[in-house]
Structures are given as structure tokens and as C-alpha cells.
């Protein structure tokens, strides 16, 4: 295709992405390198319905002059990236120096919000992604053997967990897993432990979030794999059978390689989505036990006083994190691409 034609074809989508994603990214990166100016504080007398009190306020006139001089704020370089709320370089160094042994070091590390969030996010990402791939594959294979008339109905019900908004899906489940909800009660009966509560312990909360993550994402891989199974090369399967390959061998050496490109695609999307896990944390009210970078951003933006630079920094770190996670897949795609060209 000529460059010119290509340009016209790609223009609308590229313009939309430039305007609404690329520009904000530029501004977010800029924001993460700047902080607001030092506030000039003064003490004044404030009165209200509950009496008067001396309190501190910002001296707007003095601060306004600073703001007009440098509207972007104070340039701080990577300070925000390295502060306690993010990479916490000083605190990590301190922990390294003072702790005797790796265990103590890690326990100090887990007291820092960024590393605690990373511990959960990475556990979540690396358990949910493979589990949902496996579950999706199993459902796809199972559904594929069903009778033609049953397939439609089964597909329809299987898609349910995916098509309902995560915010609402997790809310519904949150109500059910309460220690007196139906699932909570069932689990108490199952483990015959009347005090079992999924919401009270960190470990169980993680398990719950992971199970939800797999439940929610499995239909996506199921649909994609099921579609892939429809194009299975029948001749290969038959020749494998003639050669005396068992059912397992056929699955292992014919079906799975055939689905491999699809696995890459699903894994790519899922790694990214799981790394940005957010709605389940909110829906399950599990801030006390599990957080993620996306939750940090929400927390920074949702407070009475918004921390814009901090939120911007968390966003940039999310992008970097995703880039690192996806690097192996991207390198592979690059090789494929070059092979094709």
C-alpha cells in the first residue's frame, strides 16, 4: 500500500488516539515531573456555625504570584517517582541497611504501599492469566464435544460473567460471599468452621479476588479458543490418529499448537488488564488487604485534596509496568512480523 493511501486510511483512528490518548499521556508525563508551588500559609480567624477558631489557610495572593510565574508548577524531576508513595528509594535503601536477613528486609518492604500493591498485583496477574487460559481452554474443548443443539444455550450462559460490568458483577458477588450470604454460608458448612469469613483475612481476600478474576475473564478466552477449535485442521488430526496418537497426544501436539497464536493474543490482553486490576478491589471493598497501581490513582484523585502529580506518576509507572510485562510477547510479535515481511 502506498504511504499516501495508508495515511488517509489510518488518519481518523490515529487522530482520535492522538487527541484523546497520546496528548493526555504527554501531559501526564509532564505533570509527574512537576509539583504545585510551595503554599504560603497564614493563620487567620475562621468562624462558622460551631464558633470561631484560629486556623491555617493558604495565602492566595502570595501563592498566585508564584503560579503565574510558572504555571506548570515546580519542576522536581523524578522526585515523585522516588518518594515514599511510589518507588520509595530512600526507604528501601534504609530497610536494606538496617534489616538483618532477607526476611526482615521483605517484611519492611511490604510496609511500603508501592511494594505491597506490587505484591498483590503481580500475584494476581500471574495466577489469573494462566488459570483463565486453562479454564477457558477446558470449557472450549468440552463445549465443542456437545450436541449441536445444546451449544447455543451453553455459549450464552458461559458468556454471562464477562458481559456484566465488573463493578456490578463484583458487587453482586460481594453480597453473596458475606459470612451470612449464600456462598459464605456454604463455605462455612463445607469447612465446618462457623467463624470463616472471606472478607476478614488477607489470604482469603486474595483467593477471592483471584477466583473472581478467573471467573470474570474465562469466557473471553473460551470464546476465542472455541472459535479457534472450529478451524482445526481435520486432516492433521486424522493422520495423527492413524499414526496411533492417543487423545492426549493429539491435544498436545496438534490442537494446542494450532491455538498458540490465539493464546498469545488472549495472554497479551489479559496480562495488561490484570496488571491494571481495579474494579474488583473497589467492588469487594478489599482496600485493607489488596491494592494495585490503578487503585492508587483512584485514591489520589478521590481524596478531599487531590494529588495530581502522584496520580500522574502512578499512571506512568503503570504504563512502564505493562511495557515490561509485555516485552517478551512483543519481541515475539516483532520476530513474526519480520519473518512475514
Amino acid at each position: 500500500m502506498k504511504h499516501r493511501t495508508f495515511f488517509w486510511f489510518i488518519l481518523p483512528t490515529a487522530a482520535a488516539m492522538l487527541l484523546f490518548i497520546a496528548l493526555p499521556i504527554v501531559s501526564v508525563v509532564t505533570q509527574s515531573l512537576h509539583t504545585p508551588h510551595d503554599a504560603v500559609l497564614t493563620v487567620t480567624k475562621n468562624c462558622g456555625p460551631f464558633g470561631c477558631k484560629d486556623t491555617t489557610v493558604i495565602d492566595q495572593e502570595a501563592t498566585a504570584a508564584l503560579r503565574t510565574a510558572e504555571p506548570l508548577g515546580k519542576f522536581v524531576g523524578l522526585d515523585i517517582y522516588f518518594d515514599r508513595g511510589h518507588l520509595a528509594v530512600a526507604e528501601v535503601a534504609q530497610a536494606w541497611r538496617t534489616s538483618d536477613g532477607l526476611g526482615a528486609f521483605f517484611s519492611q518492604l511490604s510496609n511500603l504501599p508501592f511494594y505491597r500493591a506490587m505484591a498483590f498485583t503481580l500475584t494476581f496477574t500471574f495466577t489469573v492469566t494462566p488459570l483463565m487460559l486453562i479454564l477457558g481452554f477446558m470449557i472450549a474443548v468440552a463445549v465443542n464435544t456437545l450436541h449441536r443443539h445444546l451449544k447455543g444455550l451453553v455459549i450464552f450462559f458461559s458468556l454471562l460473567p464477562m458481559i456484566v460490568s465488573p463493578l456490578i458483577g463484583s458487587l453482586v458477588l460481594f453480597w453473596m460471599i458475606d459470612s451470612r450470604g449464600v456462598i459464605g454460608a456454604a463455605l462455612q458448612w463445607l469447612f465446618s468452621d462457623p467463624n470463616l469469613s472471606l472478607k476478614a483475612s488477607t489470604g482469603l481476600t486474595w483467593v477471592m479476588l483471584i477466583v473472581y478474576g478467573v471467573w470474570h475473564a474465562a469466557p473471553f478466552s473460551f470464546v476465542v479458543f472455541y472459535a479457534g477449535l472450529q478451524t482445526l485442521p481435520q486432516d492433521q488430526l486424522e493422520s495423527a490418529q492413524i499414526d496411533g496418537a492417543t487423545r492426549w497426544q493429539r491435544t498436545r501436539y496438534v490442537i494446542i499448537p494450532h491455538l498458540m497464536p490465539l493464546v498469545t493474543f488472549v495472554a497479551l490482553i489479559q496480562l495488561m488488564d490484570n496488571f491494571r486490576v481495579f474494579e474488583p478491589i473497589l467492588g469487594f471493598n478489599s482496600e485493607a488487604h489488596a491494592t494495585s497501581l490503578s487503585w492508587f490513582i483512584y485514591n489520589d484523585l478521590g481524596g478531599e485534596t487531590r494529588l495530581l502529580s502522584s496520580a500522574a506518576t502512578s499512571s506512568v509507572l503503570t504504563i512502564l509496568g505493562v511495557a515490561i510485562l509485555l516485552a517478551p510477547v512483543l519481541v515475539r510479535t516483532w520476530r513474526d512480523f519480520n519473518a512475514k515481511v
Binding site: 503554599a39 475562621n46 508513595g85 458475606d178 469487594f284 471493598n285
Partner: protein, 408 residues
């Protein structure tokens, strides 16, 4: 449509015949605020004004939108309804205007204690108050043979007796959800112990002291009598527990008292046993372990004088004493002239009478609140000591305050 006109006409006729003049404005009014019935009532009052367009956007996400919506020139919103915690964000960004001239011109119906004065300038007009106070089941306390508690220590005692009598497994409730709610409970308890959040006149935090530790220890002691899931319980969930008859004692928002037993399906036991009282004290202190809140409205800075005047007139009309009828009265604890507290408002009234500390209106209080919300849950789960948790809070706050330029 026809019906609407008839109603509108009769409303006009009634108000014209009433004590106050009909509300006439010449400018644009657009209100942003939280969504609950009391605020709806105020916005509806403002909408009665004729002569200019009055719009309202009432949503739970108002705090995320209001600063942006008042920053442009002319600003989209001419008025923001806020509370003493959230006015700070508007003042920090300098998007609201002083109201002294307008109060002098149009504010005859406002009583002086409604005016929020900062540095000698009226910055907002308050119209309702709120506070957390005790909500309890008098029947359960009777059965357990305990008096209505007035201190947290007595609350623990009562809870112990209720549990021992086998009346309830987890008799105490409270919005202890990690995040904003948990931080708010700490604020209450810390103020109840006579704590000061910051070193006088600076943004330097000072909570890692014996008062902070005592506050945390009391919260921990209370949580022993709570549902084990307490860190996920916000005020909605806590209320649901109370309604289901699982909780006998809780510290709850006054704004929720009126509707506490109105939900469908509440059993008669809960309905008849429901009672409220003022906030509790703690640790032998005299200041209740609670905070006072007000909700009020402001006027944007970045709008024309006509629009500002129209907004002021319309909003003043929205909270005019004449509008305080039987429908509006029970919606909140109004700070409007001539308001007589209803039964459900007694708890908040007690809170005001007993000189509860107002929630601090400081530029950096929001940062501390957020830091408390994220760092205290480890202590509540028994994962770290109170001192460590408070040190973490201070570190998190300091990082945030540095970023915002409050600390150098």
C-alpha cells in the same frame, strides 16, 4: 405538562401570598453538589426562582468535578454545595468568591451563625449540620441490664454484657471500612482524647503520640465486638447490620437517623428498640469523640457579577426559613432560623450542645485523612503495632504534603 403548570402556578400563588416575596433573578445559576434529599430540597428551592435559568447537577461524584467545573472563565457551575471538609479544596484552588457584599444586599434571612467566615470574609453559607452519634437498641440494653453508655469505655462494658448474655454475638457496629471511613473513626477518637492533628500554625503532623496510640487501642478494643468483616463495612453495610438486628450499639451519622428503621422489612423488635443519643466521650475526656460537620453553598469566583448575584439570591431562597415545611424539616438538621429539631435530630443537636470539635477546615487535612485511610488497616488487622501504624501515617502524609507544597 398542564398539571405541572397548575402546580407551579399554585406554588407561585402560595409563595406570593406568604410572608416572603417571590424569588426573582436575572442571571444564570448552575449548582453542583452531592446527592441526597436535603440537598435536593435546597436545589428545588433555588429552582423556584424565575427570570433566569437554574440548573443543578447533584451527584455523588461532585467532588471530582467541582474544581474543574469552577475553574474555567466563565465557570460552568456558579455554585458548589460542599461540607467543611470539601470547601478546603475550593479555597486551595481559589475558585470561590467572598460573599460579604451579597450578604449585605440580599442576606437578611440568613442568621449570623450560618455564615462561614474565613479571614474576615464570608466564604460560604451553611444550611445543615451533621455529626456522628450513638445509635442503639434500648430493648437489648434493657435485657442485658445496662444503662445507655455515655463513654466508649461503657460501650465496651455494655457490649461485653450483651455478648455474655448471649443476646448478640457482635453487638458493636461502626463504619470501619478501610479508607475514608476508618480514617474518620480515628479522627473522632483522636479528638475525643484531646489530640491536635498538627503542630500549631504549621502543616507538620503530630499524631504519633500517646493520644494517637490510645485512640487506636480503643478502636481495636471496639473491633473485638464487631463483625469480623468490619474493615469492609461502610456506613451502608453497618446500617444493614443494625436493621437486620445484629448490632445493638453503633456510632452512626446523624443524617441517617431519620430513615434508620424506615427501610422495608425491618422487624418490629428493631423498630421499637431503636433509639439515639449524643456522641460518646472517651478516655475520661470531656470533648465528645466525634466531629461536627456542616453543609453549605458557595458562589464561584469566575463568573459575572450578575450571575453571582442571581446565584446568591436563588440559593438564599433555597434555604429560606419559609420553605421549612413538614416535608423539608425531617430531611436534615437545619441551621436555618426557626428550625425546631425533630426527634431524629436530637443526636446531632446534643453533639452541638456538648461542644464537639468541628472537622478541621485545614488545607492539608484531606491529605492526612487519605493517609490515615490507607495506613491504619494493618494495625486493625493486628499486623503491626500502633506506633508503627502511626509512623506510617506520618510518613505517607509527609510525602503527600511535600508534593502539594505544604511542607518544604
Amino acid at each position: 405538562m398542564f398539571l405541572k403548570k397548575v402546580i407551579a402556578a399554585s406554588v407561585l400563588a402560595v409563595s406570593a401570598g406568604g410572608a416572603h416575596a417571590a424569588c426573582e433573578i436575572s442571571g444564570r445559576v448552575n449548582i453542583i453538589g452531592n446527592e441526597f434529599p436535603a440537598i435536593h430540597a435546597v436545589a428545588d428551592g433555588a429552582k423556584e426562582c424565575s427570570g433566569g435559568e437554574v440548573k443543578a447537577n447533584l451527584t455523588a461524584d461532585h467532588q471530582k468535578i467541582n474544581v474543574a467545573g469552577m475553574t474555567g472563565n466563565p465557570a460552568e457551575y456558579t455554585s458548589a454545595i460542599i461540607a467543611n471538609s470539601s470547601i478546603v479544596a475550593l479555597m486551595n484552588e481559589d475558585v470561590i468568591r467572598p460573599l460579604d457584599d451579597l450578604v449585605a444586599k440580599h442576606g437578611q434571612s440568613l442568621s449570623p451563625n450560618q455564615l462561614i467566615v474565613v479571614d474576615g470574609k464570608v466564604m460560604a453559607v451553611a444550611f445543615m449540620a451533621n455529626a456522628q452519634h450513638l445509635v442503639y437498641r434500648k430493648d437489648i440494653l434493657e435485657q442485658a441490664g445496662v444503662e445507655t453508655p455515655t463513654t466508649y469505655e461503657e460501650m465496651l462494658e455494655a457490649a461485653k454484657k450483651i455478648r455474655e448474655a448471649g443476646l448478640m454475638e457482635n453487638p458493636i457496629g461502626g463504619p470501619y471500612k478501610a479508607g475514608w471511613n476508618l480514617a474518620q473513626e480515628f479522627n473522632n477518637m483522636f479528638l475525643g482524647h484531646g489530640g491536635e492533628f498538627f503542630k500549631e500554625g504549621t502543616a507538620e503532623v503530630s499524631i504519633n503520640n500517646e493520644k494517637g496510640v490510645a485512640a487506636l487501642n480503643m478502636m481495636k478494643a471496639l473491633s473485638e465486638y464487631m463483625n469480623p468483616d468490619f474493615l469492609t463495612h461502610d456506613s451502608n453495610a453497618t446500617n444493614a447490620e443494625f436493621r437486620a438486628g445484629n448490632v445493638a450499639l453503633m456510632h452512626m451519622w446523624g443524617s441517617r437517623a431519620a430513615t434508620m428503621t424506615e427501610a422495608e422489612g425491618v422487624t418490629d423488635d428493631v423498630k421499637n428498640g431503636f433509639a439515639i443519643a449524643g456522641p460518646l466521650t472517651v478516655g475520661g475526656g470531656t470533648t465528645p469523640a466525634s466531629t461536627l460537620w456542616w453543609d453549605g453553598w458557595t458562589v464561584s469566583k469566575n463568573i459575572t457579577d450578575e450571575d453571582a448575584e442571581a446565584t446568591f439570591v436563588a440559593m438564599t431562597h433555597g434555604i429560606a426559613p419559609e420553605r421549612l415545611n413538614d416535608e423539608m424539616r425531617p430531611l436534615a438538621v437545619w441551621l436555618i432560623d426557626g428550625y425546631e429539631p425533630t426527634e431524629a435530630a436530637q443526636g446531632v443537636y446534643d453533639a452541638i450542645q456538648s461542644e464537639t470539635t468541628p472537622y478541621p477546615m485545614l488545607p492539608y487535612m484531606g491529605l492526612l485523612h487519605t493517609a490515615l485511610g490507607t495506613e491504619l488497616s494493618d494495625f486493625m488487622q493486628g499486623k503491626e503495632s500502633a506506633e508503627q501504624a502511626l509512623a506510617d501515617v506520618e510518613a505517607a502524609y509527609t510525602a503527600a504534603a511535600k508534593e502539594k507544597g505544604f511542607l518544604q
